[in-house]
Subunit: 206 residues, 2 copies
DNA sequence: TTGAATTAAACAAACGTTTGATTAATTAAT
DNA sequence: ATTAATTAATCAAACGTTTGTTTAATTCAA
């Protein structure tokens, strides 16, 4: 019971935080949408801030393990590793786009410094893994000399740019308003294809 | 007098909105930082919302004119036009990074639908201009067949990704904390170089 | 002296949070 | 097996603060 309802509150909160931001969401809004009493949020989580942290912990997606698995996979060439990185990020961000949007907000704002720093820390470690893949490719002369950090920024930035707002998605995709870009496989493939094209043309020698 | 103080309030507001978001910034915070009386904000702007709109109008940067100038410049080749687009965006976003961050926030959130839609509308028109440049290059067989919308998303997304947070900048740049990435010419050139490399390798035939 | 600028104070509404009562479910004692 | 005691969940109501906004008085400049 308790766990179910806690999760239900967290899931409702994710939707609201993603659409309105943390400070733009009141506990009354949240309680109303989750159809629970106002007091339940503080009863379960202690405070609005702690609800936020509980949400981050529960919905955290550990990309690092996936990236390290890709980086250490000796059956893949370096360019295949980069392709796998692209696919992993597109899949992850598309499937968790609300959570990802909240992270994105926190990254932009200077509120909640602790959260902010831990996001940058995670990002920092992921950057190092991508960097090592790219530098290996360069050392083997399979890759051109590129800017490893900014190459990673391009991959993530492109996905973010199209995933930021539904309106932006529909603009890029030329679809009607009730179309859901987050579940559309064609759209996903389009992003993956574009990013692979970017990565291949940027990295591979001719 | 009036104009000076109004501008001073707007400039202070930009800094706060960029760091804490619109709902995360109280009029009291703003008044304190701008060193004016709390009542002055409503005296000059009518309301917090209207201050926000006044700020958007005053600090709006009309990229479209610049883009159309580039697109219609017959002395430039298509790839040179794309290079000019890259430079224009990097310069614009770096020089107005706080304003740009606020626009970015509004794009992500579902608050203030009117603002949200007008941002998407502006973006939509800019996308069309870039698209026309790329499609001209493709028609002339100077460019490879690429995804024009996503190519634009890559340019903007890359800049956004590195400009989102100062922490992110310093992570990419490996500099000490008091280093200011927004005014550093070396950093700017690094981004421009990377993006031109992306655009060239993606678009140009070999 | 008139109108604009500025102020401290107050306003209602909304905020996150806490309370104390009530109900439902679980455990312990007889 | 039944009752009593204990715990957990839920609720409406209220708490003190902070919010955006307004007032009315005062200062300033022309």
């Amino acid at each position: 019971m308790s766990t179910d309802k806690k999760e239900h509150i967290i899931n409702t909160a994710i939707g609201l935080f993603a659409e309105r931001g943390f400070e733009g969401t009141s506990i009354r809004d949240l309680a109303a949408k989750a159809e629970v009493n106002i007091a339940m949020v503080n009863y379960y989580f202690g405070s609005k801030d702690k609800l936020f942290e509980a949400m981050l912990v529960q919905k955290a997606s550990y990309m690092r393990e996936k990236l390290e698995e890709i980086a250490n996979d000796k059956s893949r060439s370096d360019i295949e590793k980069m392709d796998a990185v692209v696919e992993a990020y597109v899949n992850r961000i598309l499937s968790q786009h609300q959570y990802h949007r909240i992270i994105h907000q926190e990254l932009m704002l200077k509120q909640r410094e602790e959260v902010h720093n831990s996001i940058i820390n995670i990002f920092s470690k992921n950057t190092l893994i991508i960097k090592s893949i790219i530098e290996q490719g360069i050392k083997k002369k399979a890759f051109k000399k590129v800017d490893p950090e900014l190459t990673f920024a391009t991959i993530l930035g492109t996905i973010n740019q199209v995933m930021l707002s539904k309106g932006m998605c529909n603009l890029l995709i030329n679809k009607e308003k009730n179309f859901n870009p987050y579940t559309d496989e064609t759209f996903k493939k389009r992003i993956i294809t574009h990013l692979k094209q970017i990565v291949h043309s940027l990295l591979l020698q001719h």
